[in-house]
């Protein structure tokens, strides 16, 4: 076959996208870059700050080191309190979110109204950040860990409730049908047909949220809701960086350990 014949038989141009598709894609890219650039510009960022940023950072690091390890003894109590806030907050969440999830799952909720109420509570809970909840609860209960526990719980209800509700909606309907066929009551169907299928996910989600809550609890003190945040906030405001570094190291340790615990537990139950 000669080259000429070849060219006649087979096209020698192939494009993945038509020119129009390509154009549309580039217009999208341009839009994204434009929006990002426009946002940055509007923020009025004083770029000259960056000129000596490396000096600032070096200065900060040099102030942090060496950490004042003698301070570690004082850190212990607030650190334990932080863990307590996360754990008790998660426990409260568990008690509230578990029944709420059944209300918010389409296949277990009694009627459309209850479903809507369930979803509404979950969405409200999730839309407000833990720290913002803490602001509110500090105003109500006064400064201290009780506000923190409630803040943690209020934010976590939406998270856990949503995941558990999704798990309930995705269960295998076969066993449920089989239990219904035995003439079991609604509650019995939930107990025998539904619950065993979602329990691993319930436990997994709880442990996962506990691990997130440990992180969240470290900053609740910034608004007065207890934990190590109170001490961290005052040390930062006093520019006591060598104390700050001790606390950051402590937080790093606790968070890494809790993440490890949570990952291990979740791997074993699912």
């Amino acid at each position: 076959m000669t080259v000429g014949e070849h060219a006649r038989r087979y096209p020698d141009v192939w494009r993945r996208f038509t020119p129009r598709q390509t154009l549309v894609r580039y217009v999208w890219y341009a839009c994204i870059v434009f929006v990002a650039a426009w946002s940055l510009r509007n923020l009025d960022i004083p770029w000259f700050y960056f000129l000596d940023a490396h000096v600032q950072v070096a200065d900060l690091v040099s102030r942090m080191f060496p950490p004042e390890w003698a301070f570690a003894g004082q850190v212990l109590d607030p650190l334990v309190e932080t863990i307590h806030i996360a754990t008790l907050g998660t426990a409260v969440t568990f008690v509230i979110a578990f029944p709420l999830a059944f209300l918010a799952a389409r296949n277990t909720t009694p009627n459309a109204l209850t479903w809507f109420i369930g979803r509404f509570i979950l969405v409200t809970s999730r839309s407000v950040n833990t720290v913002v909840w803490a602001l509110l609860f500090v105003a109500i209960f006064g400064p201290g860990p009780v506000a923190g526990i409630w803040a943690v719980a209020m934010r976590s209800i939406g998270f856990m409730g949503k995941l558990i509700a999704e798990a309930i909606e995705e269960i295998d309907t076969g066993p449920v049908e089989a239990i219904e066929a035995t003439g079991a009551s609604r509650l019995q169907v939930l107990l025998i047909g539904v619950l065993p299928q979602v329990l691993p996910i319930v436990y997994g989600t709880t442990v996962y949220r506990w691990d997130i809550n440990i992180r969240e609890s470290t900053v609740l003190g910034f608004v007065g809701a207890g934990g190590i945040g109170i001490m961290l906030y005052s040390s930062i405001n006093q520019f006591a960086w060598h104390e700050v570094s001790v606390m950051l190291a402590a937080i790093l340790g606790v968070v890494v350990v809790s993440e490890f615990v949570s990952a291990t537990v979740r791997r074993r139950i699912t």
Partner: protein, 263 residues
């Protein structure tokens, strides 16, 4: 021999000693933790009537200072957009370095420790450090969100690369392609959809987080909210809260819409 007359289901923890031990441990923990919390129970008891008072003062929400509100919201959204964009770009090289099947061991370990380190600290802690270094204002907020976005997206990219199908990469390598070509031809097609999805999700998360970094003075609507709380302007606080909820909703809706279209 007669069949046993009773049957109990096997317990989650078979050994009774362990089982009761665990229960006792859990009970003990609750007692210890609740007991060790330094709580002014009188103050807490006052809380319930106070909650009624605060709620009463929250209604009706006060939208009269809408200009202030709008400025805060705009700043939050701008912070989220800028941070997501920068984060999305910076996360790619970091993510490549943090994939165990691509990067040499020392690079991998370094990249992974950067990710672990930045992920550990809550945005608010990062924000306050930036506020101390760069002063009050949105710059600290943007930097905080950038740090959070980079470490989040990079972690996802690295995990995707580690989970991709090695066969496709092997086949492209077998054609004699160099590493950059393998990257664009075998790796990119496998991770691109998830990468875009995660980036969009991060935009949505950044909108949510941009509402809190302001509490320590790093700009955005959070700053306005924090100020209104400290001035006991609860009706304005509720207006801000409702706006935040609406904003988060819009962000989540947008994010779901885009991710649904990405396939």
């Amino acid at each position: 021999m007669s069949a046993p007359a009773t049957w109990r289901p096997p317990s989650l923890v078979p050994n009774p000693l362990y089982r009761y031990g665990l229960m006792a441990l859990a009970g003990g923990y609750v007692l210890w933790s609740v007991g060790s919390l330094e709580v002014d129970w009188n103050r807490v008891a006052q809380g319930f009537p106070r909650a009624g008072g605060i709620l009463g003062r929250m209604f009706p929400p006060d939208f009269s200072r809408w200009e202030l509100l709008l400025r805060g919201v705009t700043e939050s959204v701008e912070m989220a957009l800028a941070a997501s964009f920068v984060g999305m770009i910076v996360a790619v090289p970091l993510g490549l370095c943090a994939a165990v099947n691509l990067a040499p061991m020392p690079v991998y370990l370094l990249a992974r420790s950067v990710i672990v380190f930045t992920r550990t600290f809550h945005e608010v802690i990062v924000a306050i450090v930036f506020v101390k270094v760069f002063g009050f204002g949105p710059l600290a907020g943007v930097l905080t969100l950038i740090v959070a976005s980079v470490s989040f997206i990079a972690k996802m990219v690295a995990e995707d690369i580690e989970n991709m199908q090695p066969g496709q990469v092997e086949a492209i390598r077998a054609t004699g392609a160099s590493f950059p070509k393998v990257l664009i031809y075998a790796i990119t097609p496998q991770i691109l959809p998830r990468y875009l999805g995660v980036s969009i999700y991060r935009l949505d998360a950044n909108v949510r987080h941009s509402t809190v970094v302001g509490i320590v003075g790093a700009g955005g609507i959070g700053q306005t909210l924090s100020a209104s709380f400290s001035r006991y302007d609860y009706d304005f606080s509720l207006a801000i809260l409702l706006t935040i909820v609406a904003l988060v909703f819009a962000g989540e809706f947008f994010s779901n819409w885009v991710r649904g279209r990405l396939r």
